[in-house]
């Protein structure tokens, strides 16, 4: 079976403006490939086609892109789901500068992540063994620590598009809450102070695009809600 693919192309050394290129690729009948498999076949035809990829199983977060209008990971999106009217349309993640083809510059996204100080802070001297944590305390981290930093969420968020430098965005805030929720962390107060401005958290409009696209099924909106509550409670 032949599949029609329309893919965003931009090579800064050759192109003044980006364009959509139509390509055709043969895929085996009766086997549902992933979008990444389709890309690999396209690249065998045209080695200049550029995208990131690594684990090919949805855990490294390299191949986030806009597939048929929705952000997702190419390696775990089946072609059957991605085809819209018989066509596969691939664009880079929206809202970030494009380096080449489907590769975006993620510096802003990473900077927001670093801003929340995504590491454990605990001023007490560590014990000779692990710090104890009950299964219930540990459960608080489920749905938070699994983030793979693919940026599907933040680049689908209108608030992040408008203020990528000041609004931390769903991915960063999810990690902010991951450390606020960790019973081993002692820096909750400093963490909250650093977020207490009109932009870092409060630009979230609860549009929930982030939740709809997260390939790991995580819920940044809920985490943001928890942070808001913590901030408001402090304000009183």
């Amino acid at each position: 079976m032949d599949v029609q693919v329309s893919v965003y192309r931009y090579n800064p050394e050759r192109d003044d403006v980006p364009r959509m290129q139509d390509m055709t690729v043969a895929v085996p009948d009766g086997k549902d490939l992933m979008v990444l498999d389709v890309l690999e076949r396209l690249k065998a035809q045209d080695p200049t086609l550029t995208y990131r990829r690594s684990c090919r199983e949805g855990v490294c977060g390299s191949d986030g892109m806009n597939i048929g209008g929705t952000n997702g990971l190419a390696c775990v999106t089946p072609l059957s789901e991605a085809l819209k009217k018989g066509r596969l349309v691939l664009r880079p993640l929206p809202g970030l500068p494009v380096i080449r083809d489907l590769v975006v510059d993620m510096s802003l996204f990473y900077r927001q992540y670093e801003k929340v100080r995504p590491w454990l802070i605990n001023d007490t001297a560590p014990p000779a063994q692990e710090r104890l944590q009950s299964p219930e305390e540990r459960e608080q981290l489920d749905g938070l620590y699994e983030c793979i930093l693919c940026a599907c969420c933040s680049t689908s968020c209108p608030s992040f598009w408008w203020n990528p430098d000041r609004f931390v965005g769903p991915a960063g805030l999810l990690q902010a809450y991951r450390f606020l929720a960790d019973s081993r962390d002692t820096a909750a107060s400093e963490r909250l102070s650093a977020l207490q401005d009109p932009f870092s958290v409060f630009r979230c409009r609860g549009i929930m695009n982030c939740v709809n696209v997260c390939p790991k099924g995580l819920n940044p909106t809920r985490a943001i809600g928890h942070i808001r509550t913590m901030l408001l409670r402090r304000g009183i």
Binding site: E130, S134, R138
Partner: protein, 590 residues
Amino acid sequence: MSGMRTLTFDAIVVGGGGAGLRAALQLTESGVKTACISKVFPTRSHTVSAQGGITCAIASDDPQDDWRWHMYDTVKGSDYIGDQDAIEYMCSVGPRAVYELDHMGLPFSRTREGRIYQRPFGGQSKNYGEGGQAARTCAAADRTGHALLHTLYQANLKSQTVFLNEWYAVDLVTNARQQVTGVLALCIETGEVVYIKARATVLATGGAGRIYASTTNALINTGDGVGMSLRAGFMAQDMEMWQFHPTGIYGAGVLVTEGCRGEGGYLVNGEGERFMDRYAPNARDLASRDVVSRSMILEILEGRGAGPNKDHVLLKLDHLGEETLTKRLPGICELSKTFAHVDPAREPVPVVPTCHYMMGGIPTSVEGQALMQDDAGQQIGVDGLYACGEAACVSVHGANRLGGNSLLDLVVFGRAVGLHIRDRLAEESESLAASDTDIEAAMARLNRLEATESGESVADLRHELQNVMQLSFGVFREEKAMLEGLEKLRSLKERIAHVHLEDKSRAFNTARIEALELDNLFEVAFATAFSALERKESRGAHARNDYPDRDDENWLKHSLYFPKQQRVGKRDVNFSPEKVASFPPKMRSY
């Protein structure tokens, strides 16, 4: 070199996986001026895929547990060619390294007592094989590698390690005295080529599973560090030793963790029989990986496979119940649904042995310094070169790695190499110099690609190489097929030397990277072929139909591959641990 920038550091770590990040963290925290360079953003390294856990005697599941029992299992698992001084170091320092991970914030699963949760893995025992199955693998659900890698990256952010992300190390820079003075590296985003000069270069570039057509490894696992080191003329050790994991998802290659069997899952053949009972009456499905993989292949060869082509077996998990599956194995449920279209709570997962791990690599001392031989055949350290993680062969895994021992290897030896380099640099401040000619030599591959005008494509040649390895150097091996394989590799060598790079653009040119990676895949495959032919016995993962028995008289040894002479030699295994009596070779049964 005219026009080329030089960046200077005390130490550079090539690799941002678990091993590289642990080394970089130790170095940065010790005040050594360090850069960590990685061809992908660090959290996209292959360590992120590790599922089951990190094996270590922290005595949480069993308060009596003892690192010496872990050592015994590891020595036995290695089929007695793991170096006992290194294994002793890993197993005894391990608990400290694991607690450090907890202190950095790794979200381990927990027991009722609040301690780190441990699950049973293959090849684990209590009391030196006498006390039954142990549960020694520390886990964060079935996402331990992800949790470990992100935690280490975060700790490095905290310590302000310098990162050169999406930079590709092309080749080592070596001088006339065979000292390594740094690497030549390419900034993928801009295409700029830079000489990164350092007193110490650490290769932590991970494995090379992509030499096989079917592998659990990430697409980026192309053995770059081993390739660079071989091209620089340094030897590689035990390259015939490749682990085939019993449970790669049939058709996709994606792994489901041994932890599935640790949690109580088991394998059945096409007739529904729990066949491991016949091959390993005691450990059954938790026998060592080499044993289980061979048993599966035998079942398939004897016509008892599952599916229309009887070419795989089934992993049964449904009896564990939905609750255990979602709590302990959530990632496995996700992968099975995506890649095998089955829900493990209802149906078994189709699986086949799949290339998983490179036990061989760059031989190093326990401190992580790379080794070479002097003219008299004596082992000496390579000045300026270090290695850790899957790229290195220290050797703690010998002929067969136990599950969960790789993550431990990464953090223990990543840490050790950092400590060692700190001490070395404090003693000697003389910097190593390379001439313009030395640097130009490291440019050779880039120049060659730049000049190509025609030739075969990278994708085609890579495909062919992977098929040769799959056919001739798989789970079972024999001389005739291997010789044929080697012949094919020889002809591929010529063709790869003339591969065509059509796209010469600079910015984010992944075609150029893939062409460079192809050379490394080839170096690793070639070394594997020579070493596999030379080892005329069966040991651990190296199973030969023509030499079915272990031969301790001639082969209780490491193999060494010398790239310049294309020759294989031997090296003694270390049997002299410091704190315990050594474990002598025994017949290995499970």
